[in-house]
């Protein structure tokens, strides 16, 4: 196996770190689970449910200490909060001050956070810093490990951003979202964020000012929408390549894109996907070490947008050349009558020598794609609808 991987590795790829045990963090509509893999990733121990009955939008392990977990939670009947564990989920404590918009003056209608949707830990150098994206769209920061959260940057109350964010009716069915919070690993003042809807935006001054990054992105055809307006853009998932922070990939409502900085024009690399499948989907995952490799999990974006696997045949697609060509990866997946929905946070890769993918679907199944998605097998069934899947080295 090692010989094969060496043969595949080109000059711009980075060697895998020493193998460690893999954790898969699964957030669902009704609780959270932690799957502990053995060293070979062949057997998995389920730890959960945590927060049974709570909507958990995202659960993330702090890579800086390997022990601190944050979970974004709410129930259908209570307001949102963030739970924090410093012992890998053995015990949890609620944030003292969860993300909340500033209170507006009497007589004005202010926004309230429905749920925190996205969690991003800060850089290794910025210990205890976390960022959160909410629904409706808001950006928040904690500088104490997730205990207290404050609005971050100008975004939440800026009139221009508010116009781009639109209203509840302009967003996704379960609420408009700020997501894909990316911190440049080289520069803690350099951010990217995405909004569904509202486009992709970049700040190079710590969130004081923002620049719109939507050039090259398509909008829904046939309605005369102006592609120069961020309000018409719906980026589903934006990811930075871990070993090339000048390359971003994006799965959008209208295609798959790549952006190589300093260019400000997205290139629609999804046009080389098979026409029968298309290039619509929610998640996108870059390879942890090879910036030319990325995976998507297409969905049906035709007619009324069922958002299910095209033809009832789920499959991941991989590019190994930055989007020039794509290969289908479905060995081990159901061959028919499998109407999966895989949400934008529901696909992740581990960092092992032979990278595995992990996919959670709306039917409560967790699948693992060994060898970069070449061989799929089901890790867990009968979970609630899966909202997010993350991996971590335990």
């Amino acid at each position: 196996m090692k010989r094969t991987n060496k043969k595949r590795m080109s000059a711009n790829k980075v060697a895998a770190p020493r193998a460690r045990r893999t954790l898969v963090l699964v957030a669902t509509r009704k609780g959270a689970w932690i799957y502990h893999g053995d060293a070979a990733r062949k057997t998995w121990r389920a730890d959960g449910p945590h927060f049974l009955g709570h909507n958990i939008s995202h659960m993330v392990l702090d890579p800086r200490d390997g022990r601190t977990l944050l979970a974004a939670a709410k129930t259908g009947h209570l307001g949102p909060t963030i739970f924090r564990s410093t012992d890998l989920g053995k015990s949890w404590k609620e944030a003292a001050r969860p993300p909340a918009f500033a209170k507006v003056a009497d007589g004005k209608v202010g926004r309230s956070v429905d749920h925190t949707f996205w969690l991003t830990p800060g850089r290794a150098a910025d210990r205890d810093v976390w960022y959160a994206g909410t629904s409706p769209q808001g950006l928040f920061r904690s500088t104490d490990g997730g205990v207290n959260w404050e609005p971050f940057s100008i975004i939440n109350d800026d009139p221009q951003f508010r116009e781009w964010m639109g209203t509840q009716q302009d967003g996704t069915p379960d609420g408009p979202k700020l997501h894909s919070i990316i911190v440049d690993p080289r520069d803690g003042r350099h951010f990217y964020i995405a909004m569904s809807g509202g486009g992709v935006h970049e700040s190079t001054d710590g969130g004081r000012t923002w620049k719109t990054l939507i050039h090259g992105m398509d909008v829904v055809e046939g309605f005369g929408f102006d592609a120069s307006k961020p309000a018409f853009h719906d980026p589903h998932c934006v990811r930075l390549c871990p070993t090339n922070p000048d390359r971003l990939y994006q799965q959008n409502h209208c295609g798959i894109y790549r952006l190589d900085r300093p260019s400000e024009t997205w290139v629609r690399i999804g046009r080389s996907m098979p026409k029968a499948v298309g290039d619509i989907g929610f998640p996108l995952v870059p390879h942890p070490r090879d910036p030319d490799t990325a995976w998507v999990f297409p969905m049906d974006g035709t007619q009324v947008w069922p958002r299910t696997s095209p033809g009832g045949k789920p499959a991941a697609y991989v590019t190994r050349n930055g989007g020039k060509t794509w290969q289908r990866l479905d060995a081990g997946l159901p061959k028919s009558q499998a109407w999966w929905t895989v949400k934008r946070q529901c696909m992740a890769a581990d960092t092992c020598d032979s990278v595995a993918l992990y996919v959670g679907n709306s039917g409560g199944e967790l699948w693992m794609g060994r060898d970069g998605g070449r061989r799929w097998l089901c890790i867990a069934r009968h979970l609630p609808e899966i909202y997010a899947v993350e991996t971590a080295a335990g």
Binding site: H77, L78, P98, A100, V109, S112
Partner: protein, 85 residues
Amino acid sequence: MKVLIPSALRSYTERGETEAGGATLAAMLVDLDRQYPGIRFRMIDEQDRIRRHIRVFVNGEQARDLAQTLAATDEVIIVQALSGG
């Protein structure tokens, strides 16, 4: 005054009935949050609106305004409006 707590919020109070003080509903909720940090935000949003699925009854009558005055002898019942699946 006596405050009855719904099951979804008993992770804070660890019981179904507690005591809180305050001359208004808003003040009572502040006192409740002082005793059980975090409980208020699960019921009241950052714009001081009662959340969609929360109902508050004072002596059997639904209270819709946090400015509603309270007496020490009042009984406040907090209810979660269960819905969905």
